[in-house]
Amino acid sequence: MDLYLGIDLGSTTSKAVAVGEDGRILGRGITNTRSNYRVASDIAREEALHNARFAHLARAMESRGYPASRHEAIYSDLALHFRLEGYLKRLDALARECERTNAALSPEEAVPGECLAEVFEILRREAPATFDRQARNDSSKFFRDIAGTAFADAAEEVSTRWKLSSEPLVAIYERSIVPAENDRIEMDFGRSLTSACARTLENHPEERENSGFVKALEDATKQAVALDLVTKDMVGTGYGRQLLPFPEESIRSEILCHGLGAHRIFPETRTVLDIGGQDTKAIQVNGEGVVTSFHMNDRCAAGCGRYLGYIADELAISVKDLGPLACKADKTIRISSTCTVFAGAELRDLLNLGEKRENILAGLHRAIVLRAFSLLARSGGVHNEFTFTGGVAKNVAVVQYTQEMVRRNYGAITMNVHPDSIYMGALGAALFALRAARGESLPAAGVAEPDRSTRGARRMEIKA
């Protein structure tokens, strides 16, 4: 199968999307951007290709009468266990790195080798449970997020047993995690999938006893493994795109990619708002997904995802909880500045004045939206349909205020919010790759049904 890849090297995460000859999404991958951009892009790409094989497997199962809709639990377990295989591989790399770090330490700083070995023994043994607990409902957790907490727990346990302080162990981890993340790991898709299948069937006696199912899974697995994936072309985009080992003509600005990606998912899109970690983009596209005008925030990152991060840190809560909390407000405190530098001080000041946390948060969210709407106004306003993407589009309070602002300033508009908006840039890049290969200047719109299959994509009709 021929495919085209788009790689979006963002400031915090790197994304890859593979599309087929017909422009349909085949697979996608994501990882945290690390010091080594090449590794980050390789991991995201590999994950996208695995994801494509997985999708193939699901289709193969479906054709054999086992659609994902009826066996949801086992499919999600299978996906989880496949990720677990990758986790275990990376854990080996981390173990090697920690040993190396420990060996290089002075005798006073180093820990007994057995001690370290015990930590990893626990990590490996607990991996399935750890993974189930931490990653099942949260696909945004990367290796370091999961391994970090697990390591700390294991180190605590081992050091107590050895009557040592856990600090030297944690210090070793801190020094080793970056090189371990940057280590190149070969994943054998077939072997990992087979292993994941075995692990999964163990937990699902009903399917395990169903010989038809088992046989179908075996066949589908073989088919997915055998699938000949040929990457015909790749295009890079994103914050770090200049650092990708790609030729200049295979690099596209993320503005164009976001515009095209969003237009692909929602073909009636004319205005795109993307709020990412570092910047906010207001983009206007025409009927073909071609960008006609855009504006980005100026040099300060006020009102971007990072601002929410500071706020969450200040309140010592998770970024994910900010939006729901803000929605519980009974009034919206007026916040004048979305300056990241002053965010903390302003927040503390308001808390000291006795304002409710929810109400302050409501004000902060509203301030973010106000700022975004200024950029939209600069770029030419909001036109039907309006698509909201970027990590911040996951925030319910932001979405709510955005709807309100659209209604008030632009009237009746269809607004699309995409939960996987984080992949929009990579999708646009993949479409550019396809377009270049097909020798068409304009994006290949209409070659296939737009892929709106992603669960949870939301369309809301905003009434005037």
Partner: protein, 387 residues
């Protein structure tokens, strides 16, 4: 009676808190041939507008009372705040009933705003009022007279009614009365700042940017009478002169913060245009010549007027001495080139004169005053300790 003071303030607040200019709409509604003329800071010869049978309305931005969306779409982040809220208000149609707008020559931002007005609101008469920076009656005076004639001719064109010298004299007399009352208010405040808190005086003065001159004169009188009848208790505060806020106005909360931090404001350049001409304008002879002469010889100091042989640091020191201020607070709007570029020169002179000072920046929608509170408190404490 305490309620008389509150009543006066409530009258002021009614016009100040109304971004839809209900007072102006009511005034316009009382006659078919009535017109409203907006003007930006700092100074416009309101005598001419009033004489033409129109209501002059000072437009000082929306302070912290409005969400700015469209305004930010028109102005980059490194430009001060007032033009954002003014354009936001305009695009929201809050000035839809106004017939004309005057943009005085005080800086490049307000100047360019005049052009944006021409492009966005072609139905309104836009007058860029170029104050002369040459004070020779035969040169700058002649030019300024032409500017005023041009304004008057256009107002006459809008109203379709000639304006007599007698009407101009009459309007001038009413504004002379207004200037005298404002002087009285400022003198009273300087003598007894505890009884005339800045947070009150400011509202009473600012109401005059919207009220007709007669209504404003009555308001000042009522407030003065109420305050004098029922004085507030004295407080132990240092006496401070406030400089830098000649155009974009600080939020009321900032003024309150300064007073709470122990600084009684006894002199300031807030709403400078209301007191721009110091003393009476002649009410005989040629009325426009009288306004020209007043500008050339009686205008106060400000960052917008070239100081040539009459340095504004001398004027500042004079004013500080006259109102017996213990120190000066520089309170400039962020990104205000004129005020901020004056600051080092003024500070240098205060250093020489051993007048203590502190400096802040704000924008009209600043919501948090914690830092200012601390700094102003420290400033006040340090001065008290020295006494």
């Amino acid at each position: 009676m305490k309620h008389q003071r509150l009543d006066a303030l409530a009258r002021a607040d009614r016009v100040l808190n109304d971004l839809s200019y209900g007072y102006v709409q009511d005034w316009l509604g009382r006659g078919a041939d009535r017109h409203a003329v907006g003007y930006l800071p700092i100074y416009a010869p309101r005598e001419i507008i009033a004489a033409a049978g129109m209501i002059p309305v000072g437009v000082f931005g929306a302070g912290d009372a409005l969400d700015i969306v469209k305004g930010d779409a028109y102005f980059q982040s490194y430009i001060c705040h007032i033009p954002r809220s003014v354009i936001e208000m305009a695009l929201d149609g809050r000035f839809a009933t106004f017939s004309a707008f005057i943009f005085p020559a005080i800086c490049d931002v307000i100047r360019n705003l005049s052009g944006m007005w021409q492009m966005n609101f072609p139905d309104q008469y836009v007058k860029y009022l170029d104050y002369p920076q040459n004070f020779d009656p035969e040169v700058g005076g002649r030019f300024y007279r032409r500017e005023l004639e041009d304004l008057l001719e256009n107002l006459v064109r809008i109203s379709g009614r000639e304006v007599s010298d007698a009407e101009l004299h009459a309007a001038t007399a009413r504004y002379n009365e207004n200037r005298r009352l404002l002087d009285r208010l400022y003198d009273a405040r300087s003598r007894a700042p505890h009884n005339f808190p800045m947070s009150e005086v400011y509202r009473v003065v600012r109401a005059g940017s919207v009220l007709t001159v007669d209504d404003h004169n009555r308001l000042i009188l009522d407030y003065l009478a109420a305050a004098e009848a029922e004085p507030l208790p004295d407080q132990d505060r240092i006496r401070v002169y406030l400089v830098g806020a000649f155009c974009e106005q600080p939020p009321l909360g900032l003024l309150k913060t300064l007073e709470q931090a122990g600084c009684a404001l006894v002199g300031d350049d807030l709403l400078l245009g209301m007191r721009f001409i110091r003393g009476d304008v002649a009410t005989e002879g040629d009325p426009l010549d009288a306004l020209v002469a007043a500008y050339l010889t009686k205008c106060g100091w400000s960052s917008a007027v070239y100081d040539g042989d009459n340095p504004r640091e001398d004027k500042l020191v004079e004013d500080v001495r006259a109102c017996k201020a213990d120190g000066v607070i520089f309170c400039c709007p962020s990104f205000c080139d004129p005020a901020l570029l004056d600051r080092p020169m003024l500070q240098k002179r205060l250093d020489e004169e051993r007048v203590p000072y502190a400096s802040f920046q704000y924008s009209e929608n600043t919501g948090q005053f914690q830092v200012i509170r601390e700094q102003a408190g420290t400033f006040s404490d340090s001065i008290k300790l020295w006494e």
